[in-house]
Each structure stands twice: as C-alpha cells, then as structure tokens.
C-alpha cells in the first residue's frame, strides 16, 4: 500500500505543478501580456506533467484497488518501479524547465512505458482471481504502455508521423487509460454504492467493451476517416455507460468519503469530453482541426481521468488513515469541478468563435486572437479556479496524509 500511496501523493503534487504551468502558459492569449517568458516551453511542461498525473494516478489507484490490502512481500518489480518513478518525474521537470522536452520525448516515453509495465507485471503476478476490475485495469494499462512505445518510434515522413502520433496518443488516452479509469470507477462503486457486486461485474464488462469501440470511433474521426452518422455512435455508447453508472450512484450506501462525487465528475467529463466532443470533432474535422477545439479533446479526457484519480485518493487515504470520513471536504471538489468544467466550456467557446472567425469569415489568425481575448479571459479564470482548488486539495491531503504504522481499515 505504501507504493500506492507514493504514486497517488506524487500524482496530486504533480497536478498542482501542472495546473500552475497551464495557467502561466495560457497568459499570452491575453493581449498586452509579457512575452519574455518561454510560454510554449511551459505549455509543453504542463502537457508532460498532466501525462504523469494520469499515469502515476492510474498506477497508484490500480495497485490500491486491484491488490489485496494485506501486507505483500517486497516485489523486485515494484521496487524498480518505485526507483524509476521519481527519476522520471525529476527528468521531466528538469528537461521541461530547460525547454528540452521535445528533444527527449522518446526517452521519457520509454521510461513511462517501463514504469507501467513493471507495475502491471507485478499486479499480474499477484492476482489469483481475475475479477473484472483488475482485468479491465490491466488490459487498459497494458494498451497504454504499448501505445507509448509506438508513439516514440522514429519516423522521418511527416504524413506517417502524424498518423502514428494520432493513433498512438488516441489509443493510449481514449482506449487504454479510459478503460483503466472506468475500472477504477467501478472499484470505487464497491465503496460508495450498495449495487449488487454481480451486477457491477457484468456492467463493467459491458461498458468497457462499448467504450473501447467508442474510443476507436473518436480516433478514426480525428483522422477524418468516419462518416458523420457513424461518429454519432460514440456519444450514444458513452450515454449508455453513464446510465449504467447512474444505477450505482442512485444506490448510495453510508460511506462518508467523497468518492461518489469525484466518480460522478469523472463520468460527466468522460461523456462530455470523449463522447460528445470527440464525436463533434469527428463530424467537423476539416473545420476544427488545428483549433482550440481540437486541443480541448485530450485535455478533457485527462481531466476526467484525473477526477477519478482524486476520488481514489479521497477513498484510499481515508482507509489508510483508518478514519472512514472525508479527507478533503467539498470546497476543493467544487473549485476543481468548476475549474475543469468552466475552463472546458470557455475553451469550447473560444474554439467555436475561432472556427467562425478564421474559417467562415476568413479573418486572419492574429486578428481573430485579438477578438477572442474576452473568451480567453474566461478560460484563464477557469484555470485559476482549478489551480486554487488543486492547491487546497493538495494541502489538505498532505496535512491528512496516512501515517503508516497505524492499523488500516477497509470500508468495502
């Protein structure tokens, strides 16, 4: 459990840095902002940190949810992963601050894949009964590791490189990591819902198969390879997933943690992000490619997964502390929820108006950016709210972190 704790706490701290870097990197979209800072490097650092938040959070959550809470013998695989993970974080931060991430991206990708592979191999070795949650989580993380390795293949041709980048990033985020996050939502359900376990197991297999297909539709849509009618299947599949989870949300038990709140936010962002926005971008691909709308899709997907991870942090830290009550309270939840949803809607507005100005009216990019400043300011307000929420969340989590040595309690 200590390694799960280390992955989760590092994920929360990285989220703070990512939110700060995202906010600073967004500032040049406002006119009159200082242009001396290397904003594009900060943006790349924010992207890299968000990737680490998702990977570390999914690994820590996976270890916690899939492995039994009883003390395990030291594993060489997990020991190696626990050495590589802080090394990966340090290298990402150093190279990100130096503006070298684009150069060293392949090495970071290989290190990320190695850490995932080590943890997944350990979970596979220790799992005796393959119930749906460890099974789907393991499959999802394995797909992510393979996609990461594919994404670092050296390709000299631009067209092929663009295709492979879209495929690898899409498979990783919209299929692999999405499946792992959905498995974690069902893992949390066992804590906050009295829905029958057999129903939950059957439901997870059903929705996981559908969401894998939905992810494929979104990926093919981003390559411009889908007929419009087919793309509309993706939000329908995500709505079926939401309906399944509603059955669990409507049967809450007495658990006092906020796991259900975070899981609900994760479901909402998955439906709006990958489901609705993914299909909308597939339909409008020629119009929206290269605009802020297309940049929003992976961000929303990562926010959705992050919300689920924060839910696991809430639940697991309460259990590790042996105090079955809220760890962080509602204030950071609402700040982060408003920050994620609000900045997402603001960037949607930016993207829609950008498409209208640049691609319907034919206004040039620089002039359109000036006209978009009011909408960009709303986006920045959303990012600032998110940062505030994350700082409050991280501070409370750090103050109320588990002290190992005290007896743990499971609230399953």
């Amino acid at each position: 459990m200590r390694l799960a704790y280390r992955f989760l706490i590092s994920s929360v701290m990285l989220l703070t840095l990512a939110a700060l870097a995202s906010l600073i990197a967004a500032l040049p979209f406002l006119p009159g902002t200082l242009t001396g800072l290397p904003f594009n490097h900060l943006h790349e650092l924010a992207l890299a940190l968000r990737d680490l938040v998702v990977i570390g959070g999914l690994l820590g959550s996976g270890i916690y949810v899939t492995l039994p809470p009883t003390p395990q013998p030291n594993s060489r695989l997990l020991d190696t992963a626990s050495v590589l993970w802080p090394l990966l974080i340090s290298l990402t931060l150093i190279w990100g601050i130096l503006g070298l991430l684009a150069t060293v991206n392949p090495l970071l990708g290989i290190l990320q894949a190695m850490v995932i592979a080590l943890v997944v191999a350990d979970v596979i070795g220790k799992t005796r009964v393959w119930t749906p949650i460890p099974f789907i989580w393991t499959v999802g993380m394995s797909i992510s590791a393979i996609a990461l390795l594919i994404s670092v293949l050296p390709i000299s041709d631009f067209t092929l490189a663009a295709t492979m980048t879209t495929l690898a990033r899409g498979v990783r985020l919209y299929i692999g990591e999405a499946l792992a996050a959905v498995a974690l939502i069902y893992g949390l359900m066992r804590r906050f819902s009295s829905a029958p376990a057999q129903w939950a197991a059957s439901s997870l297999y059903t929705v996981a198969g559908m969401l894998a297909l939905a992810g494929t539709l979104v990926i093919l849509g981003s390559l411009g390879l889908l007929a419009n009618g087919i793309a509309l299947i993706a939000p329908l599949l995500y709505l079926i997933f939401a309906a399944h989870t509603y059955a669990a949300f409507s049967k809450r038990n007495e658990t006092a943690t906020l796991a259900a709140h975070w899981a609900a936010l994760g479901v909402l962002l998955l439906v709006l992000g990958i489901g609705v926005l993914g299909a909308a971008l597939a339909i409008t691909q020629v119009w929206t490619s290269g605009t802020q709308l297309s940049a929003l899709l992976p961000i929303t997907a990562q926010y959705a997964i992050t919300a689920v991870i924060l839910g696991v942090v809430n639940q697991s830290f309460a259990e590790m502390r042996g105090q079955p009550r809220r760890v962080t309270g509602l204030a950071p939840f609402w700040l982060i929820a408003f920050g994620m949803v609000g900045s997402g809607f603001a960037l949607t507005g930016v993207g829609l108006v950008q498409v209208y100005l640049e691609r319907i009216l034919g206004i040039n990019h620089a002039e359109a950016q000036m006209l978009l400043a009011p909408l960009y300011s709303l986006w920045i307000v959303g990012l600032a709210t998110l940062l505030l929420g994350v700082v409050v969340y991280a501070t409370i989590v750090w103050i109320r972190r588990p002290r190992f040595g005290k007896p743990a309690v499971s609230m399953i």
């Binding site: 790349e44 684009a102 490619s289 206004i363």
Partner: protein, 126 residues
Amino acid sequence: MPGTRRWFIIGLSLALLFVIAVPALNGFFAPPVVPGDATAGFALWQADDCAGCHTLDGIGVPYAADLTRIYAAHGETDLRAFLAAPDVPHPALHAAQIDDLIALLRSVSAQAAPLPTPFLHLSGGA
C-alpha cells in the same frame, strides 16, 4: 452475451482491429511519396520544435496559426519572404532550410482536405 468477459474481449478486439485496419485500407501506412526535401523539412520542423506553437495536420499546439493550408493560402513567394526575415519568436533559417520547410508545407497543403470557401471575406480594418 453482454456483461461477460467474452463480450469485452470481442469489443476490444474489434476496436483495435478497426483502429489499425481502417487507416491501413485508406493508405495511411503506405510508403511516403513526398520529395526528399520535404522529409528534411520535417526533420527541421521537429528539431526547431515548431509543433510547440503551431499545428500541422492536427499535430502540435494551437498557440500560433495552423499551418496545414498556409502554402495554399499565401503562396510560396510570401512564405519565402517571411521565412527569409522572420519576426522574433521564429528562428533564422538558411536558404536550404527555407527550401526544405517550404517543401514540407507544400506537401502537407497538397494532401490536406480543402476548407469550404469562407462565406464572407473581411479585410479586418480600414
């Protein structure tokens, strides 16, 4: 069938099959037919981290303008003039590098699906 591991494996297998087969059948993995200087232009694009600010065929960051169709929109003469005397955030390039970069932009622009014609053309000021 729904709600079983077999259902999930079938769904996931179909998903991964489609994600590889559909681009393959549409020629996305076919050997490149771009001229050599476009490949050198892509190497320059990567080395100078142009994707840190610009997007090209959906790849990159929309900090600055999308360059997918910039060759078709502005033409080679304007692009050469800009790249020969770039403003502050852009790196200075040698003549051969400008040739390579323009070859890349020409190649991507030629392959990109055309945008629908703008409904209105505005000058954006007096």
